[in-house]
């Protein structure tokens, strides 16, 4: 696997594409992952044109999306665009599939997208990376839809904007789209390891989610969701707790691993919480807390998972962090990427983005995976190898 990454903050799309292409040229990429801040949304066609024209190739697969900033080997920024070029040296067959309509039915759109990708690869895939419109899609539905088709660990995230929750978009080839889900899938020999971790610790009692409507959580453990938070926190939950007091969501009671859901709104009248993503009714939940240091330690926990057992050789790193983590860490945002470099060194090309919802499984000590989950305020890291 050959890989190269690049980033730029040049505002002009074409020139930005040209600038990205130069470092990637050496890798002769078959596939390019592209993450950009939302201000590049109108520039995407020009950006892709600059990229492909500079590379001198029109057959390169390009998949990307917007986020609340970019992470790249040489840059962590609020705004800019980064790219990772991959060349499998003939070992992989790549495909990109897209499906629209996530706002109406995220599950069905993701399911259709996964089927399309599989069909394109002859019915089997070893790798899948997913992006979806983070303003319009339900991440839980996206994951469930993909899992209904794919029997491999897949990962990715929901596209976002600059914290306005106004729009997010995907770019596939030169086409920019909203209300969509896209999957980059590969068939062939590809070693990779992916893991999710957050740094949050569940505290207090487990409550069963008794009443909900999509991402509106109404009753937990015989009381309103707000009362549940109050009882577990020992104080009235307020707006300031929204981003930093997530719920741990378990698939089964007593399970070691959990996905997080962050409340985005508290309705004092009904005691209901609006969450970033739905939670299945009946799921066991617990309130979580974490300090900034613990949130950062979540990166190391994610890295531990992808390095044990280790890959024979890593070629690139893809990270999907949460925009909420970025907001929480504020001036320590770069520290997440620094922790990655501290663990694996700076020689590997790395790109990533702060997402509106992370997707990925938990990697176990024996190298196997749990089911894929939809996360909030979580760090998903993937080492691509050979």
């Amino acid at each position: 696997m050959r890989a190269a990454s690049a980033s730029t903050i040049t505002a002009d799309g074409y020139r930005a594409g040209c600038e990205l292409a130069e470092p990637l040229r050496a890798a002769a990429p078959e596939v390019i992952l592209l993450f950009a801040s939302i201000d590049y949304q109108p520039e995407f066609p020009d950006l892709v044109a600059g990229l492909t024209e500079t590379l001198g190739r029109t057959d390169v697969l390009i998949i990307g999306g917007t986020g609340d900033g970019i992470y790249e080997t040489g840059r962590v920024a609020h705004r800019g665009v980064c790219a990772l070029g991959l060349h499998s040296e003939g070992k992989l067959q790549w495909t990109v599939a897209v499906e629209k309509g996530v706002a109406a039915n995220s599950f069905a759109a993701a399911q259709g997208c996964a089927r399309r990708a599989l069909a394109s690869l002859g019915g089997a895939a070893q790798f899948a990376f997913v992006l979806a419109d983070g303003v319009k899609a339900d991440g839980t539905g996206i994951v469930a839809g993909l899992a209904s088709v794919l029997d491999i660990p897949f990962f990715g995230g929901l596209a976002g904007d600059d914290r306005k929750f106004a729009r997010s978009c995907l770019v596939v080839g030169g086409e920019v789209m909203e209300d969509a889900v896209a999957v980059l899938a590969a068939r062939g020999e590809l070693a990779f390891a992916v893991n999710a971790a957050s740094g949050w610790t569940p505290v207090g009692q487990v409550g069963s989610l008794e009443q909900c409507n999509h991402n509106l959580i109404q009753r937990i453990g015989g009381m309103t969701a707000e009362e549940f938070l109050r009882e577990q926190l020992g104080k009235n939950p307020s707006e300031v707790d929204l981003g930093i007091v997530p719920l741990a969501v378990y698939e089964t009671a007593g399970e070691e691993h959990f996905a997080l859901r962050t409340p985005s709104r508290i309705d004092p009248a009904s005691g209901a919480l609006t969450m970033f993503g739905s939670i299945p009714a009946g799921a066991p939940v617990r309130v979580c807390t974490a300090s900034r240091a613990e949130v950062l330690a979540g990166v190391e926990a994610a890295l531990t998972g992808v390095r044990q057992p280790p890959l024979a050789a890593a070629a690139a790193v893809i990270v999907v962090s949460c925009a909420g983590r970025k907001w929480l860490l504020e001036d320590q945002t770069k520290e997440e990427v620094e922790r990655v470099f501290a663990a694996i060194g700076r020689r590997l090309p790395l790109i990533g983005f702060p997402s509106f919802g992370e997707i990925g499984p938990f990697r176990k000590a024996d190298g196997s995976y749990t089911s894929c989950r939809f996360h909030n305020v979580t760090y998903v890291v993937c080492l691509l190898g050979t």
């Binding site: 500079t54 705004r79 914290r163």
Partner: protein, 521 residues
């Protein structure tokens, strides 16, 4: 120094320029460029698809050296043909400046966007801070209100604590240590407050099981794990005096801390009063037992006397009657009509007295006899009685109605006597009634329990004397009117009483009578 694309629309390109009749995007959008064109308009036409997105210099032949910025955003340099060979050198500083300007524009755009984001983040922070402040103020207000409520609650508690007439202890639930006592505790135990706070519960208890330190701690553990506990305790004061207290022990939140709250009431006086009452009750019970024995003994003696007297009286009476009969048979022809009348009266009274004595004996036997309890068919007994009554007085046309299937548990002989008397009385007291009707049945009383009754429409009785009906020898009618001994209803009452039942009568003069009785289940 950077290399900039130098393109020429015309074939005869100036030195350094490359002929490019139709510039490609990659040639003009990647950065600063120069395009040699016959006119500025011709150059702009060739670059039309990219205008607005490109920064470059149009170079055209011109009579004199000139420089301008075009409305399209491109820059234009007019260069006299004579200087054509110098064009690359002439335009290079311009291209450098344009590159610098482009870099500055890029930087400006970047800065503007960063500033916008910073402004948005700042506004968000302001909003979040405002929300946080509001939340904090609300929390502070709530906490203040809670603290105020707690202070008021504690003040109320303190007033009660200081003034209540019960001793109050506050204990640590973990160690049982005394944390606070009220003034009444000091009065009750004789210790100062400081002394009391250094005591263990064992030191103010009798010290003998179940009133030891360990027992007290056990009670406290129970109180922390469940509902309030109420129990009595043997306490000891500073002088060593033992006294009884009633203890109410419960867990309580005092000043935000989990505590054991114990209230104690001195019940020594109550315990002494209870002991006295217990002694009095025992004495009373003993005296009642003695009196009952005396009464039973006297009753037995009286019964024996009555039986003996009645029995002994029968013999001389029989002699009187016998001698009266002998006198009538042997000397009747020598007595005149008045003498015979006196003799008949003597014999009649003797006979009546024998009947009275027989009745007394029967009454006495009822009290003395052994009583059995077995199912008795009262309807069958009543039917038999009715037949006997009709047989003895066949001329009577009385209607006798007997409810079928009435049964009870009791002594069949004694219950026969009851029905014999009640039906006999009804038969007797309806003798002068035109359409006599006698009924034996069962009905529910006001309290829902069943009662048997014998009802007639005969002479009835004055209800003012109803209470006397069941006393021996009490008769409400004259002997000439209705014969009788006056014992029958006494007999009935005694039998019913022995069966654990009740008997009573209802009636009016001339309106008939109803006699009710119940029998124990």
């Amino acid at each position: 120094m950077a290399d900039y694309p130098l393109l020429s629309l015309v074939a005869a390109a100036p030195p350094g320029f490359r002929h490019c009749p139709s510039p490609a995007q990659a040639e003009v959008r990647r950065g600063i460029f120069a395009l040699f064109a016959p006119t500025p308009e011709a150059g702009e036409a060739a670059l039309q698809p990219y205008l607005g997105k490109i920064t470059g210099l149009l170079v055209t032949p011109a009579p004199a050296l000139r420089w301008e910025r075009r409305p399209s955003g491109l820059h234009h340099a007019g260069i006299p043909p004579a200087w054509e060979g110098l064009i690359p050198d002439i335009i290079r500083p311009i291209l450098e400046l344009l590159a610098l300007a482009q870099a500055q524009t890029d930087a400006k755009i970047g800065i503007e966007r960063e500033l916008r984001r910073a402004g948005e983040d700042r506004q968000r922070l302001v909003n979040e801070f405002a929300a946080f402040r509001e939340s904090l103020l609300k929390e502070i207000a709530e906490r203040r209100a809670a603290e105020e409520a707690l202070r008021e609650s504690e003040a109320r508690f303190r007033v009660i604590f200081e003034s209540v007439n019960d001793a109050i202890f506050i204990h640590d639930p973990q160690t049982g240590a005394i944390l606070d006592v009220n003034p009444r505790t000091c009065e009750m135990y004789g210790y100062s407050r400081d002394e009391a706070l250094r005591l263990t519960v064992g030191e103010i208890s009798s010290g003998t099981p179940p009133y030891t330190q360990e027992d007290a701690l056990r009670w406290m553990r129970r109180a922390t794990q469940g509902p309030p506990r109420l129990f009595e305790w043997r306490a000891r004061d500073k002088a060593g005096r033992l006294f009884w207290v009633e203890v109410n022990m419960r867990q309580a939140n005092i000043g935000g801390q989990g505590r054991i709250l114990v209230t104690l009431r001195d019940i020594t006086a109550r315990k002494e009063a209870e002991a006295k009452l217990r002694d009095l009750n025992l004495d009373l019970e003993r005296r009642v037992q003695e009196r009952t024995c005396d009464l039973e003994s006297a009753n037995q003696e009286l019964e024996a006397f009555a039986y003996s007297a009645s029995h002994d009286l029968r013999t001389p009476l029989q002699s009187i009657d016998g001698w009266g009969q002998a006198l009538a048979e042997d000397y009747g022809d020598r007595l005149d009509k008045t003498g015979l009348g006196y003799l008949a009266t003597i014999r009649g009274e003797a006979k009546r007295m024998r009947q009275l004595i027989d009745a007394l004996l029967q009454l006495s036997r009822v009290a003395r006899s052994e009583m059995s309890r077995e199912p008795v068919d009262l309807s069958a007994l009543a039917t038999e009685m009715a037949a006997t009554l009709r047989q003895h007085d066949p001329g009577r046309a009385a209607e006798i109605v007997i409810a079928p299937g009435l049964t009870a548990r009791g002594d069949p002989v004694l219950l026969r006597t009851v029905l014999q008397n009640l039906l006999g009385n009804a038969w007797k007291f309806t003798a002068k009634t035109a359409a006599a009707r006698i009924e034996f049945g069962q009905a529910r009383r006001d309290d829902g329990r069943p009662a048997f009754f014998v009802r007639d429409n005969g002479a009835g009785f004055d209800r003012a004397f109803a209470a006397k009906l069941f006393l021996p020898f009490q008769r409400l009618h004259r002997q000439e009117e209705f014969a009788g001994t006056g014992i029958g209803l006494s007999l009935v009452k005694r039998i019913i009483t022995r069966h654990g039942g009740e008997v009573w009568a209802e009636g009016e003069v001339g309106q008939g009578a109803t006699f009710w009785f119940t029998l124990a289940e």
